[in-house]
């Protein structure tokens, strides 16, 4: 076996960085699909309308709520990075990271409340 074992990774900031990275990857996978769906309008509004009605299903709405969360958390996490890198150093990074996740969850829940 090899010696390697580290357990410090469960720090809030490491989790924040991981969430930022995974949300970015998920959005990157989602985007082409999003563009293809919108591109249905080329064939006329009937194609897009069919797709939109398909997306009325509750499960799809829940997935959309997940996407809203991913977009918001990626943006707020990125904003936190821009603050670290461009403004004077400030402590309280863990609180900022937790706040970013919290705000994103709230926005996603509001979205779901409106559409479900």
């Amino acid at each position: 076996m090899t010696a390697r074992r580290l357990n410090h990774r469960r720090s809030v900031l490491w989790i924040a960085a991981l969430v930022h990275r995974l949300s970015g990857l998920a959005l990157a996978v989602f985007l082409p699909l999003h563009f293809l769906a919108l591109g249905l309008a080329i064939r006329g509004e009937a194609s897009l309308e069919t797709f939109l009605r398909w997306s009325d299903q509750p499960l799809v709405k829940v997935a959309e709520g997940g996407l809203v969360f991913l977009l918001t958390v990626h943006m707020l996490g990125g904003l936190r990075v821009l603050v670290i890198e461009n403004l004077d150093w400030r402590d309280g990074q863990k609180q900022l990271a937790t706040l970013a996740a919290g705000v994103s969850a709230v926005i996603a829940f509001i979205f779901l409340a409106r559409v479900l």
């Binding site: 076996m1 010696a3 900031l13 960085a17």
Partner: protein, 243 residues
């Protein structure tokens, strides 16, 4: 006031990259440090154990190891603080090749220091007047906040980006580069900024801040690296350095 048994159960890494943890029983003593424990094993239980130390008092940086999963100075880590239920797991520092047991090959750490141009480059000779440096200038304060690094390697071992990106110069090298970027006497800043602006330089840092969390000197390489990002971006946009 100890809920600690009178004996510690200590697992030590034996071998090189491949090997195994071996268990030893070490008597518990007051004010015992992890370095005391390792030393006891080598002197009384197994003389073939290899490990590194020098000053024993937290000024040289030689004794850093992975203790219960975290990189620490073993001479400054009290057993009472880390040994839950009398158990300790001690391994070599991560992110560095293992020579034997608890001793790692630090060469890449120091080579990256050189690559980051973490070396003072004089701009005057003995025949010039001595440079007047105000200790409270913004630049000197920034350099002083980062200058106490003793190259122990703890930050390098703690950094996930070092683990994922073999080109990454690492927090210590970049932190030192930052102190020199802020040193008015230094004459090599264009080359230094280019060195840290290259692939594997400061821009590879994701601000996980494990370095800052683990630094035994309470330094903040994340902040130093953020400073380097600002300087290199400004220099690049002004055409002073090339990508």
């Amino acid at each position: 006031m100890s809920d600690m048994p009178s004996e510690l159960t200590v697992s030590l890494w034996r071998g090189a990259e491949q090997g195994r943890y071996e268990t030893y029983r070490v008597p518990r003593r007051d004010s015992q440090t992890v370095l005391d424990v390792v030393t006891f094993v080598q002197r009384h239980l197994d003389p073939t154990l290899s490990y590194r130390f020098a000053c024993r008092v937290g000024v040289c940086g030689s004794c850093a190891m992975t203790v219960n999963g975290r990189p620490r100075w073993t001479c400054r880590t009290h057993v009472s603080k880390v040994a839950k239920g009398g158990r300790l797991e001690i391994g070599p520092l991560e992110n560095l090749p293992v020579i034997k047991d608890l001793a790692t090959d630090m060469r890449e750490f120091f080579e990256k220091w050189q690559q980051a141009k973490g070396v003072f480059a004089p701009s005057k000779t003995r025949h010039d007047a001595i440079e007047q440096i105000r200790p409270d200038s913004a630049e000197r304060l920034a350099a002083d906040a980062a200058i106490e690094c003793i190259n122990c390697g703890v930050c390098y071992a703690a950094c996930d980006t070092v683990r994922w990106n073999s080109d990454y110069l690492g927090p210590a090298a970049l932190n030192r580069a930052w102190t020199l970027v802020n040193d008015e006497r230094d004459g090599a800043n264009v080359a230094r900024l280019e060195a840290v602006a290259a692939s594997g330089g400061c821009h590879a840092c994701h601000s996980h801040q494990a370095c800052q969390e683990h630094c035994p000197q309470a330094l903040n390489p994340t902040a130093s690296i953020a400073g380097l990002k600002r300087r290199t971006m400004a220099a690049y946009l002004r055409g002073e350095i090339k990508a």
